[in-house]
């Protein structure tokens, strides 16, 4: 099936319209809220995982409370790493 020439130009116009489309204000706010929440959970999740790993290793090696302290800070570092990565990805998308 061949695509008629007229349809091709109409498709082109429609496609260029989609590209130039800007999000409305409320949509933007919604996606900002979404990205803010995304960053928050990234940070908290890594801290939680780090602390849990520290807790488990502490009970294994019987070194309470040292490993939980160390892994809490490692988790916080991992959380910051996550946040930086997510922020970089968001910037690339824009």
């Amino acid at each position: 099936m061949t695509i008629p020439e007229e349809f091709k130009t109409r498709l082109k116009i429609a496609k260029s319209k989609i590209k130039g489309q800007v999000l409305s204000d409320s949509e933007k706010r919604g996606s900002f809220m979404g990205s803010a929440f995304k960053l928050g959970t990234e940070l908290v999740a890594a801290v939680a995982v780090g602390t849990i790993i520290g807790f488990i290793l502490d009970t294994w090696f019987d070194t309470k409370p040292w490993l939980i302290i160390i892994f809490f800070f490692l988790g916080a570092a991992a959380g910051l790493l996550n946040v930086i990565r997510t922020a970089n990805r968001m910037q690339k998308e824009d």
């Binding site: 949509e27 919604g30 929440f37 990234e42 908290v44 999740a45 790993i53 490692l74 996550n82 990805r89």
Partner: protein, 244 residues
């Protein structure tokens, strides 16, 4: 106790108790709404693909929009290598989206507002992506824990941080969806309670808020399904294309 905003999240059994090998497998309202979501998707896609018209009708148009939306998302974030995983990501996106959206109907139950549901979904993705990574690259997959250009002194520390960061993926993925859905639905219920308790005189303001929040919640329901799917694509991309 209709005034308790958390009551909407309670899971209760429907029908007889089923126990297999000591595990409670009874049919609950949560299972009912999962079945409803899955069958709604099936019905919707069946109707959308029944007659393949050149000029689509409304149902076919929406079904095709979902298809091209997910296809474009996978292509943009994970590249052409991720094409074989399209069915999985499409079903995942549709399931989360329909669970969220059906939860917006009054008197319904939001499956995704329970952490166990979202955690199982996220853990499945996490384990699957890890297996795919090892299957594609063998032990070279472990190199995602070792970023390039790091001084040798810092390498053990960075590796531990990278491992924690990797392990935190299913947690952040599941907590995000669960917390968004639960917080939104609790908020709706609380404002609904205000309308009742303030009566005909003062109830108009929270009623207005309720209407606005419902709109916001529908946006969040869609956005969270999208975020869930796009993060799956991003993780898949990390596993398929090492050192992006």
């Amino acid at each position: 106790m209709a005034s308790n905003p958390m009551q909407q999240f309670s899971v209760h059994k429907i029908g007889p108790e089923i126990k297999i090998a000591g595990i409670d497998l009874s049919f609950t309202n949560a299972s009912l709404f999962m079945v409803i979501s899955a069958s709604t998707i099936l019905l919707f896609l069946f109707l959308g693909t029944k007659e393949k018209k050149i000029i689509p009708d409304k149902v076919q148009l929406v079904a095709e929009m979902f298809y091209s939306f997910v296809a474009k998302m996978i292509n943009d974030t994970a590249g052409s290598k991720a094409k074989p995983y399209f069915p999985f990501i499409f079903s995942l996106f549709m399931f989360v989206l329909f669970c969220n959206m059906i939860g917006m109907l009054p008197y319904s139950f939001t499956v995704t507002s329970h952490i166990i549901v979202t955690l199982i979904l996220a853990l499945f993705i996490f384990i699957a992506v890890t297996i795919i990574g090892f299957a594609k690259h063998g032990f070279k997959y472990l190199s995602i824990f070792v970023p390039s250009g790091v001084p040798a002194v810092l390498l053990p520390l960075i590796t531990i941080i990278e491992i924690i960061s990797y392990l935190s993926r299913p947690v952040s993925l599941s907590v995000r969806l669960f917390a968004n859905m639960m917080a939104g639905h609790t908020m709706l219920k609380v404002f609904g309670g205000f309308v009742i308790s303030l009566g005909i005189l003062g109830g108009w303001l929270p009623l207005g808020f309720s209407v606005a929040l419902t709109g916001l919640e529908i946006l969040v329901a869609f956005l969270q399904a999208y975020v869930f799917a796009i993060l799956t694509c991003i993780y898949l991309n990390d596993a398929l294309n090492l050192h992006h």
